[in-house]
Amino acid sequence: MTAATATQRTGNRSRIWTLPAGLRRCAVPMALLVLWQASVGLGWISTRSIPSPSQILTAFWDLTVSGELAVHLLVSLGRVSAGLAIGVSAGTICALIAGLSRRGEDALDALLQMLRTLPHLALVPLFILWFGIGETPKIALVALGTAFPIYLNLFAGIRTVDAKVVEAVSTLGLTRWEMIAQVILPGALPAFLTGLRYALGVAWLSLVVGEQINASSGIGYLAMTAREFLRTDVIIVALIVYAILGLLADLIVRFIERSALVWRPAFIKE
């Protein structure tokens, strides 16, 4: 009732707030886009610095139609997948060893905690010397960057599984392996998925850097060659593709969370 009277009193001004929520959230970005297009069109901003949205869209279309974008995209996806597979596996194995046994923790944790403080992107020069300029350093960079967030989160997750529940289950006569597989690892799954989301972010970041070292294909290569021809529109297309890929990866993990953590009250619909 109070809401109704408030609407009447504020009259026209309140009409914008009655728009659907989705539209309301889009209003400001849309306005900025229009402003951007107008600024470039009126010559306020040089296309050398930044092209107009319509030019970017055209570049996007051209690259898609020619098939160029798809080729580079596939190459980049391949590198990220390979690097992620290696990094996530390594991080998971280390976290299991360190998390499930004291001796494993003594052996691994100090070393990994030291290594993780190293900014892994600073290893690029070393990786070039070790692995040359082919695919290996690019994949290795992704693998190294993604292993640590997985390790840290899964290790912490294993160690913070509810001790009281573990104690109660220990009176039920489970074998050690059953306890690990049915109680400890599922209990650490939320932490692992958090680690996976971090890892995906790091993976794209590592790829951006990795693809700028002597690549002959990939989204990063596309951006680097575009720079030589002053094609700012293509550079922006590459940036947008990176953003979309990052967004998609995040959506995938969220989907996994939704299906794997159905037991959480936030996800339960009864």
Binding site: K164, V165, E167, A168, V169, S170, T171, L172, G173, L174, E178, Q182, V183, P186, G187, L189, L261, V262, W263, R264, P265, I268, E270
Partner: protein, 281 residues
């Protein structure tokens, strides 16, 4: 597990070979002995309440009998078929209620047994539910079903009703009594609620300084009521054993006897409030 189960026809304690036998148990936590040469026998099918002030070592004793704590000194004889219900339900949140109940069960018909146990505690309709959607009382009943399905010869209850509201607690106490009659395990109930001990147990063991300070039989007919003369007499005796001066308490808290009916939480049960409310050791 099933072949080893020996059901006792009546839950009355019979003198025979004890199902639990503890001799000279010592447990040291650095500053003094928590358990100091404790000895205790539990008869098959008996219902024993273990009372004592906070820190007297009663939970340590229960944890030793659950094999959660070591018994470095002394001998402890236990049946293999044991089950524990804690103050918190401690269900595995990512397993549905039925899976929680059957966890670790190695019968081929584990699922039917689990469903039967859930039916006994009145939770059949929640078998497929996730534990975090259960109410406190439902979760504790699931924990009870999880213990029951193992057909224990020794059922250890570590203040299982302490975290429940008064009405749920009364219902749970009735349920435990019914289940005990039906399955006749030896029950050891750790509590600091004298009334609860008198309602359920046929023997009250009072611990102090790491030993059994008093061992009092409760020969009251069932069902028991708070106002029965025998109940009141035993209540005074138990309170005296626990070092509570009843008259002093009555002068300070005139409504104490009504506390239960009015839905009081643990803390106002005839023990000093601090001692009763604090989690026991």
């Amino acid at each position: 597990m099933s072949h080893a189960l020996s059901r006792i026809a009546t839950p009355q304690s019979t003198i025979g070979k004890p199902v639990v036998s503890v001799r000279g148990l010592v447990r040291n936590f650095g500053n003094g002995n928590v358990l100091d040469g404790l000895s205790l026998d539990l008869q098959p099918g008996s219902f024993t309440a273990l009372l004592g002030r906070s820190g007297c070592g009663k939970s340590t004793l229960l944890r030793t009998l659950a094999k959660l704590d070591p018994a470095p000194e002394g001998t402890v004889q236990l049946p293999d078929e044991r089950a524990v219900v804690f103050q918190e339900p401690r269900l595995v949140p990512w397993m549905r209620v039925l899976r929680n109940v059957t966890l670790g069960l190695r019968h081929p018909d584990a699922e039917e047994r689990g469903l039967a146990a859930l039916a006994e505690v009145g939770l059949s309709h929640r078998a497929r539910a996730w534990p975090l959607t259960l109410s406190g009382g439902e979760a504790q009943r699931a924990a009870l079903a999880r213990a029951l399905v193992r057909e224990p010869r020794l059922l250890l209850l570590d203040e299982p009703f302490a975290a429940l509201d008064a009405l749920t607690r009364m219902r749970m106490q009735g349920l435990v009594e019914t289940l005990w009659h039906a399955h006749a395990p030896a029950v050891l109930l750790v509590t600091h609620d004298v009334d609860e001990a008198l309602l359920l147990a046929d023997r009250a063991v009072v611990m102090a300084n790491g030993r059994i300070a008093a061992d009092i039989p409760i020969p009251l007919a069932r069902p028991r009521r708070h106002g029965d003369p025998g109940f009141i007499a035993l209540r005074s005796r138990l309170l005296a054993e626990l070092g509570v001066d009843e008259e002093h308490l009555a002068a300070r808290e005139p409504q104490r006897t009504d506390a239960r009916a009015s839905g009081a939480k643990p803390g106002g049960y005839g023990l000093p409030a601090g001692a009763a409310a604090a989690p026991s050791l």
